[in-house]
């Protein structure tokens, strides 16, 4: 009996002493509904490879039942951790409980769930409101005391990125009465609508009075930039352009001087997740329940062409 305890003790210390390598991690991804999602998958694979973990990937094709099935399979396979990008917020209690009973830590990526916090290790995500604030603060710094009329292209009406990125931007420019949002309309996060709505903004405001465009995502900004050009104005000079997401195409626009700044919604959610997991495996460090990713601001000064080259193969 004593021997057995000693053996068990030895085994655990030996395991703990091993470098955090060759762990098997299951990744239950939503699907590939957007370029950003595809990039997140690519970056997660790259991160796992870089750190020497074995990544098992499951694509749920936008269906929760597939995702639950994938998580159950991971549990049955006895993986060392599960990364989950939940397709919806509800209905996870049971499968998360199963993972907890099997002592497999679950890290949520990018989206949250409505389950009790002790059912998962941590959640990695961006703060949408913070992204909007970073964009707003950039504009404040850029225009100084000059009067600046801003037009805003909102995301899909009622979606949480649209609500939070709007609120964040308003908080960012709060207290600077020279900056005013004069027009705000939804562009549905698409290029076509971004272009169409910008055309109407230019007509409604008479062009010269618009000093800056704030778009809730880069795609709408790319569409709007074309509308500004077709109206005979210079985007990036006559009208400042700031948007969110940092997809490759906006860096091309920035390299051409047609966009001014973008706030990154990083596809690298896996990096911080692996950091937290490795600390947890090593000595049981429990991370905070929410790990906020950096909302990095990129401007024309950041060599946009080089960033475009590095991002274009991520699958955006």
């Amino acid at each position: 009996m004593k021997n057995l305890t000693a053996y068990a003790l030895f085994a655990t210390t030996a395991l703990a002493a091993l470098p955090a390598a060759a762990e098997t991690v299951g990744f239950a991804q939503i699907g590939s509904e957007s370029g950003w999602r595809a990039a997140e998958t690519t970056v997660t694979r790259q991160e796992a490879e870089k750190r020497g973990h074995d990544l098992k990937f499951a694509d749920a094709q936008q269906k929760q039942e597939n995702q639950i099935k994938a998580v159950k399979t991971f549990i049955a396979q006895g993986v060392d951790a599960i990364l989950l990008a939940p397709v919806v917020a509800t209905g996870w209690d049971q499968v998360l409980q199963e993972a907890k009973e099997a002592e497999i830590p679950v890290v949520l990526l990018d989206r949250q769930v409505d389950s009790s916090e002790d059912l998962y290790l941590t959640a990695v995500g961006s703060d949408l409101e913070h992204e909007g604030r970073v964009a707003g603060e950039w504009l404040v710094q850029q225009v100084g005391d000059k009067t600046c009329n801003v037009v805003e292209l909102q995301g899909t009406t009622g979606s949480s990125p649209a609500i939070k990125r709007k609120a964040g931007f308003e908080a960012g420019i709060a207290g600077h009465d020279n900056i005013k949002i004069t027009r705000s309309q939804t562009g549905d996060f698409t290029r076509t609508k971004g272009k169409e709505v910008m055309e109407s903004f230019l007509k409604a405001e008479g062009g010269t009075e618009i000093c800056a465009l704030y778009a809730h995502n880069d795609d709408m900004a790319v569409g709007a930039i074309q509308a500004i050009k077709e109206a005979g104005k210079k985007p990036g000079t006559d009208i400042l352009v700031v948007s969110i997401d940092a997809v490759p195409d906006i860096f091309q626009a920035m390299a051409a001087g047609e966009a001014n700044a973008t706030v990154e919604l990083t596809p690298n959610m896996a990096g911080p997740a692996f950091d937290a997991l490795e600390a947890y495996w090593k000595n049981g460090t429990v991370p905070p329940k929410f790990i906020q990713t950096e909302s990095k601001l990129y401007t024309q000064a950041d060599d946009p062409q080089a960033i475009y080259e590095s991002k274009k193969n991520l699958g955006y």
């Binding site: 370029g35 309309q185 939804t186 076509t192 109407s200 007509k203």
Partner: protein
């Protein structure tokens, strides 16, 4: 009343359009201003004609399909497929004529598929075209590999944002397509044959109309129109967005046909009335954007305007209004 039959047919739609424009001009006084900027006509009416191009193109094909008693739900997805094909071909370095032909051939093939399902396999049109509506976006995504496929070819971009003598190219495209279609339909017996199939397919068949070929032909025309619309929206943003190109536009096209006073049961049709219907829906869209309402109200306002237009045009209300007018005129003093 001595109005020519053609004009009498489109008069209610024209009146609606004029009233709508007047109402929008009251809300946003600059609505009717047209100037020249950057060597092209510039102003909200031009935006309506230009932005309305995809739905106008779709409405041409949709009118014919609906005239045979059918419906084509796949046009939005076919737009995405054809746009994706064009963007893919041009980024692979194929010359522009080959690219355009490939996109049009893709549209025609999609139409042929729908037509065969409807006329040969006798599947209900709403279900037959639903198949491609659902599968189409998947096909488009396969072509673009999930990302927005961007291109910089100036020739293809011209289809969306070019201008001839100051007029945006999409406007010229849809008017040319409309004039061409109407000439072919009305200078030949084709329009009459389509109406015959829509009124009573069996009677038309007994009278010697090749109903099968007629039905396949209208779906192919619808596919071709969708291909043109897909080229326009793809060229407009210089990129093929498989997820969003043409999304829900099949419904806008059906709405345009209905506002144009065409019966969903088939039979008599007017392409011109459908096109005015398309311009009415686009005028509503552009008017809402200009008015500066919070975006939460967009769909609600649009729905109300459409409801009012359809109620005024409804078969029950129109005779009622006409009778009252007649009564007032006939009242002795």
């Amino acid at each position: 009343m001595t109005l020519p039959a053609g004009l009498a047919r489109i008069l209610p739609m024209l009146a609606t359009l004029v009233l709508l424009v007047a109402a929008i001009t009251v809300v946003s006084p600059g609505f009717l201003e047209i100037s020249v900027a950057n060597g092209r006509l510039y102003g909200s009416p031009i935006d309506v004609l230009n932005r309305g191009a995809p739905v106008a193109l779709l409405a041409i094909g949709m009118t014919l399909v609906i005239a045979t008693g059918g419906i084509d739900l796949s046009v939005g997805a076919v737009m995405a497929i054809c746009g994706a094909v064009a963007a893919k071909m041009v980024t692979l370095g194929y010359p522009l004529p080959v690219t355009l032909l490939a996109a049009l051939a893709t549209g025609a093939a999609c139409g042929l598929w729908n037509g065969l399902l409807v006329s040969v396999l006798r599947i209900q049109p709403i279900i037959a075209t639903l198949i491609l509506m659902v599968a189409g976006r998947g096909i488009a995504q396969l072509v673009t590999e999930g990302a927005i496929l961007t291109f910089s070819d100036p020739g293809l971009a011209f289809l969306g944002s070019g201008a001839v003598l100051g007029v945006p190219f999409p406007v010229l495209l849809w008017t040319a397509a409309a004039v061409g279609t109407i000439l072919v339909l009305r200078r030949t017996a084709l329009g009459f044959l389509i109406e015959a199939v829509g009124v009573n397919a069996r009677a038309a068949y007994r009278a010697g109309v090749n109903t099968r070929v007629t039905i396949i032909a209208v779906y192919v025309v619808s596919g071709l129109c969708a291909a043109l619309a897909g080229l326009v929206v793809t060229a407009d943003i210089r990129g093929a967005d498989a997820n969003n190109a043409g999304l829900w536009l099949e419904l806008d096209a059906i709405l345009a046909v209905v506002i144009g006073g065409n019966s969903l049961l088939g039979g008599r049709f007017s392409v011109v009335a459908s096109l005015i219907g398309a311009m009415i829906t686009q005028t509503v869209n552009t008017g809402i954007l200009l008015a500066g309402f919070p975006p939460e109200y967009n769909l609600l306002i649009k729905a109300w305007i459409v409801l009012v237009i359809l109620v005024v045009q409804s078969p029950r209300l129109r005779p009622l209004l006409a009778r009252r007018r007649a009564m007032r005129r006939g009242t002795p003093t």
